[in-house]
């Protein structure tokens, strides 16, 4: 029971709630963008297939967005409830970034989401498209601010400490801190990839079942082109991000690579190992000698700092970082292979027929999410025991709450989020089984769209009011 102290419980609760939360934004950032693209293409080409794609995916988008909103509100309060001292000392730096996130992104998304979801018959097609686009842009802006805030905690810059409180010297340095450019690009790409995999996976599922085939072909083909570019760019960005970690957070890098010796010049690329925090070595290690040095330093005998270079109390929990990283990279390689296989099969004209390929794509439906979460574990667990890297320890800033209160809320979160997760999956399954709207239905709606929605609604209002007044007379 000694681990059930307030610090541990608060950290577990934060980790649990933020892990649950990130599932949904990582889908909606990319999906909003895809829907905006489809809607734009529909306006441009008048090909109703694009409208069908937009209209189908807007429903999973809506429930995913809703989950993101409710989970996000929890996050915005949890800094204060469970890490009150952290809020007090870092609020002057991080708070304003969140204020700007709310002002420039959250309101924008919420304000235009209503029109995007419910305004099909209330505004003209162009205004509707602009609303969708604004929602998508809102999600990008939001990720940019939150990545700036999180990156500042990884690689703090532009601050001075006055009486134990962070004051800002330069806001440019705070926002454009060393890890921010890499991490925001990495995260946005991850979200686009996640959404593409989701769309591709569902399309592949339809093709395997021989349902909605024309709709599914369009979805699969488009997302495979996108994945080809996105995954390859992501490999480069990920590599750059790793080099940045090596420079600014060497302890994290050592945990990622499973390096123990304070200065290791033959770094193997480990395929399997279980880092042992007690004995300070890896158990069951299997690796390719020198390949790690080659990747990290671009030289055969390049030296890299290992975990023993840091005092024991300053080391992150290596096994979790080590394995999360391998899950992320392993899935990433799978995604690259899928995109390349799609290219080959497309050349052969078998993109929509190859069963094994379609099964693999269907299997990868949720893998963008899994990979994103694994990546966040590398970043966040790798930062520990610091909440602001090398400056503030997580253990020192926890709210002095009685442990049983945090235990109570943690249990409640586990129950509520498990329930919600199941409900979310149930409704996603239901929407996917129901399939896209029929072309005939869409054509009927087209007529409604041809009449300017706003005027139409207004005319309807007038008619009703006449009726109402006659009734009174």
């Amino acid at each position: 029971m000694e681990h059930l102290n307030t610090e541990m419980l608060s950290r577990v609760q934060f980790a649990f709630t933020v892990s649950f939360h990130i599932i949904f934004p990582s889908i909606t950032i990319g999906l909003a963008t895809l829907i905006a693209i489809w809607e734009g293409l529909w306006l441009k080409t008048h090909d109703p297939r694009y409208l069908q794609l937009a209209k189908f995916w807007i429903k999973p988008f809506a429930i995913t967005f809703g989950m993101g909103v409710v989970g996000g509100i929890v996050m915005s309060y949890e800094f204060g409830t469970n890490f009150s001292k952290f809020s007090e000392i870092a609020g002057p730096v991080l708070g304003p970034l969140l204020v700007y996130e709310v002002l420039t992104a959250f309101f924008l998304e919420a304000g235009f989401l209503g029109v995007m979801l419910f305004g099909w018959q209330r505004v003209g097609p162009k205004v509707h498209f602009i609303s969708t686009l604004v929602v998508a842009i809102g999600t990008w802006i939001s990720s940019t601010w939150i990545m700036a805030a999180n990156s500042w905690m990884q690689t703090p810059a532009g601050y001075k400490i006055v009486n134990g409180v962070f004051h800002v010297d330069s806001w440019m340095d705070v926002i454009f801190n060393p890890s921010f450019p890499y991490r925001v690009t990495h995260m946005l790409l991850a979200s686009f990839i996640t959404a593409c995999l989701l769309v591709a996976g569902v399309s592949a599922f339809y093709l395997l079942k021989k349902q909605h085939t024309n709709f599914a072909k369009k979805g699969l083909s488009m997302t495979m082109w996108m994945l080809l570019v996105l995954t390859l760019v992501q490999v480069v960005v990920g590599d750059q991000s790793g080099l940045e970690v090596k420079e600014h957070q060497p302890a994290k890098l050592a945990a990622i690579e499973g390096i123990w010796e304070a200065k290791e010049s033959n770094v193997p690329l480990l395929l399997f190992a279980i880092p042992n925090m007690k004995t300070e070595q890896n158990d069951y290690q299997v690796g390719i000698p020198h390949l790690g040095s080659l990747i990290l330093t671009h030289s055969f005998d390049g030296a890299v700092t290992g975990l023993k270079a840091f005092p024991k109390e300053d080391r992150p929990y290596a096994p979790l970082v080590f394995w999360s990283f391998r899950i992320m990279v392993g899935l990433g390689i799978g995604m690259v292979l899928i995109a390349l296989a799609a290219l080959v099969l497309r050349r052969k004209g078998k993109l929509y027929e190859n069963k094994w390929f379609l099964r693999a794509v269907a299997f990868f439906t949720p893998m963008g999410v899994v990979s994103t979460i694994a990546g966040w574990y590398v970043a966040e667990v790798g930062r520990q025991p610091w909440v602001v890297y090398n400056l503030v320890r997580t253990a020192d800033v926890v709210s002095p709450l009685p442990a049983q209160r945090v235990l109570f809320t943690l249990i409640a979160f586990v129950i509520i989020y498990s329930l919600l997760g199941l409900v979310y999956l149930y409704f996603m399954r239901k929407l996917i089984r129901k399939g896209p709207p029929k072309m005939a239905t869409l054509e009927k709606q087209l007529i409604g769209m041809n009449a300017p929605g706003y005027a139409l609604a207004w005319v309807k209002n007038l008619k009703h009011e006449d009726h109402h007044q006659e009734g009174e007379k």
Binding site: G66, Y77, G80, T81, V99, G111, F118, V423, F427, K430
Partner: protein, 331 residues
Amino acid sequence: MDLPLFYFLVLGFAIFMYVSLDGFDLGIGILYPWFDKPGERDHLMQSISHVWDGNETWMVMGGALLYGVFPAVYGTLLSTLYIPLMLMLFALIFRGVAFEYRFKSDRSRAYWDLSFSAGSAIAAFCQGLVLGTVVQGIPADSSAFSSLHWITPFTLFTGFAVMAGYAMLAACYLFMKSRHDIQAHAANIAKTLLITVLIAMVVVSVWTVLTQPYIYQRWFSGMNFVYLAPLPLLCLVAGVISWKDLHSHRHESRPFWCGILLFLLGLAGLVISIFPYMIPQQLTLWQAVSPKTTLEFVLPGVCIFIPIICLYTLWGYRIFSGKVEDYREGY
């Protein structure tokens, strides 16, 4: 103008926007049990499904502003009010997801109705509890974390009062957005709630003045009461106008605006009572405020974006203006 004071007013504005906007949509959930004829609950939910998300964003805005500009208040308030705030968040989760799932459900609709209604009611109650706790004062020692100081007869009363207030706003909103039976039903409910809210405002005022000497001083020392008299008088005027409109159906939207005015006056009363404290008798706004560099950085954002936000929020409401019956179209 003094920057900390300016931010205090901006925060007040955000709180006002939150309680008015999310007030009426939480209130819709509180009123759910009184609307159970076929189609009525669909109608209620449709009246707010396009705006609830934007309304709730004002709460995130309030939280972020506190975090950035008054971090000491954010840290103290949120950690000492841990349980009521967490319960509020749980409740908001249940009601938030109900918007999406209810319309897509077949067999489980009754659960989503419950989730929406109970979630809204509990969230409103917890907000009232928090309000009451702030007014009565937070213990300055470690008992603020471990005791149940936020459960007292006073805070329970403010909890119910806020529920009644939100429900009143919602009934006036429905009165504005509906026709025929639902409108008439809403008017009847709104009248009952209007009286309840006015009585609750009197009770809370008297209770506070009697138990908090410093608030008594603020209102009754010297000529203060004369200067402050317009507040209770305006409440009375708003109440009377609202009642008449609900009775005669002459002005469909005026009761709603009167309801908003009541909330504004209530908030003004609160600010007058505890100013310059943000946590009464412990932390003034000048003690809690962030360093100057932070205040200057946030300033252009607040000055530029809040007006823009208000404009497009208004545009969103305009698009869905008129009666709920006219926008049955989903997505």
